[in-house]
Symmetry: C2
Amino acid sequence: MKKMLLAAAAVAGLMTALPAAAQFAKPEDAIKYRKAAFSVMASHFSRIGAMVNGRAPFDAKAAAENAEIAALMSRLPYTAFVEGTDKGETKAKPEVWSEGDKFKAGATRMQEEMAKLNAAAKTGNLETIKAAFGPVGQSCKSCHDNFRKE
Amino acid sequence: MKKMLLAAAAVAGLMTALPAAAQFAKPEDAIKYRKAAFSVMASHFSRIGAMVNGRAPFDAKAAAENAEIAALMSRLPYTAFVEGTDKGETKAKPEVWSEGDKFKAGATRMQEEMAKLNAAAKTGNLETIKAAFGPVGQSCKSCHDNFRKE
């Protein structure tokens, strides 16, 4: 576990340093990448949700591992919202780009709430995790409402 | 060197700490998850490939960041090759399950080679990275040849 946290801390440090410049050969590559990153994040986040909502037994170690991965994943998708990726297999609304500052603020909020959930999960206390879980879900919903087509 | 070993150990720690139990409500959830994890891994691996093959300028920091993420991602997909996920939107051959030991060995080989690439990337030396890159690609190809439909 200690080793895992070490690795995660290393990656979390790196993540903020990731170049924002496009790293994608084609618009569809960027779309595929961001969807994949969100998808992996959502899987791990939802496993914590199952514990928070009583659909799965609480497992402190699993919660911490899932929070760690979800927090790492939360750093990845946004470099892929590059210009020209508003068409094709994406639910992104034009507002992602026309209201870029608002979108970025929402992304940052989600990343921050996810980081808090990650810290909460390390306590191993379910009530602490529950308290941190809701705000992440709200940050997800807020962006989906504003920036994602149904 | 100590740093390299630490990083490799950290990643190894993350790997073994991950629960192997199925965490997916439906077969299609598992399929979507493993494809997403492979996809994110491939994106970051290919960015190193671009530097190794001279299609992109060498950036030691970016190479290290991409290797770190790729190595972490390499640990994720295999928990999702659960029974009953051989149908639907997947290219997985039946051999994934009928030759499970061989598949697991291939997965482990890829994870190990990716961990070595991660350690190599931390040296900041392009030649060292080049030497470690090839074996990862070979481990990818080997599994694709044996376990993935074209």
